[in-house]
């Protein structure tokens, strides 16, 4: 196991692995997203209370969950890169940020569009919405901090520290609906064994969650392979790879 990790930490092996893995993320993503969209938008019944508008859930919930998962991965992997000086971990952390920021943006935008007809307001300053907005700012700060240094080592050092400090926001987002009286609804998976969503509506949601996870993996690979080439541009294998095309 440890040997395998060490091997993967070599830029060349990591680069070759990303290229090999791309189809293994692309095709499941396409399959799951088509299935999930069809199931969620066509097959699933309308909600007893919210009518057809609840279908926004199928993109709102996966993107909100992913916004937190990607941040978690970014901070943890960034921390690993910081402590052990593993270049490939720094690459994964860096290219994760714009993807996570986009998921956060989608969660906020679809939430606002959903809130208007249901609550009667695009935006309220309740604990859930505010903490998710802070997550977006954390991502943006991370990205610009990463771009603010010419030396990639210094850049990932500074940005990783920021990401780790910002981790404190994740439990705040998750528990905000419990700790404070929010306008936002409670968690649908409060009790995992007894989800508050009817199975006919829950299945497409789970499929969309998997689709978004493969989407993240796919975008991560696509961006990581180019980031490696830039960072390793003085190695011989990169020169041979690029000029040999």
């Amino acid at each position: 196991m440890w040997k395998w990790i060490q091997k993967l930490a070599s830029p060349k092996v990591f680069f070759e692995t990303t290229n090999k893995l791309i189809p293994w993320f692309l095709w499941p993503f396409i399959g799951l997203i088509l299935l999930g969209l069809y199931w969620g938008l066509v097959v699933a019944p309308a909600d007893y209370q919210q009518g057809e508008s609840f279908r926004i859930m199928y993109i709102h919930v996966p993107s909100a969950w992913m916004s937190m998962l990607v941040y978690f991965i970014m901070a943890v992997v960034g921390g690993i890169g910081l402590i052990w000086q593993i270049k490939m971990a720094q690459v994964v952390a860096k290219v994760s940020a714009p993807i996570g920021a986009s998921f956060t943006l989608i969660a906020l935008a679809t939430g606002a569009i959903w809130g208007k007809p249901m609550w009667g307001a695009w935006w309220v300053w309740d604990a859930r919405l505010t903490s998710e907005l802070i997550l977006l700012f954390l991502y943006l700060a991370y990205i610009s901090l990463n771009n603010a240094f010419d030396d990639p080592k210094t850049a990932s050092k500074a940005s990783s520290i920021l990401a780790i400090v910002g981790l404190v926001n994740l439990p705040i987002i998750h528990y905000s609906v419990k700790w404070w009286n929010t306008l936002h609804q409670g968690s649908i998976l409060e009790d995992i064994s007894k989800p508050s969503v009817h199975p006919d509506m829950l299945w497409p949601l789970l499929i969309m969650v998997f689709a978004f996870q493969f989407l993240y993996g796919l975008l991560l690979l696509l961006n990581a392979r180019d980031e490696i080439l830039v960072r390793e541009q003085n190695s011989r294998w990169v020169r041979e790879l690029v000029t040999g095309e």
Binding site: P98, K116, L215, L219, N223
Partner: protein, 57 residues
Amino acid sequence: MTLAETLSYLPYGKYAFYIWLSYGVTFLVIAELFVRASRNHKKVHFDLKNKYAREDD
């Protein structure tokens, strides 16, 4: 008549505007991620090729 009412002939009736808008926004944001990735891919290869060509001269 509001925009939401104007678009109520679409599937999902009175919520058509909100549903299509949210799915549309999501599509655009994700498409942008792929466009950026592909542009960056081309740029990296182009820049590196130039760099190596210059060094070889």
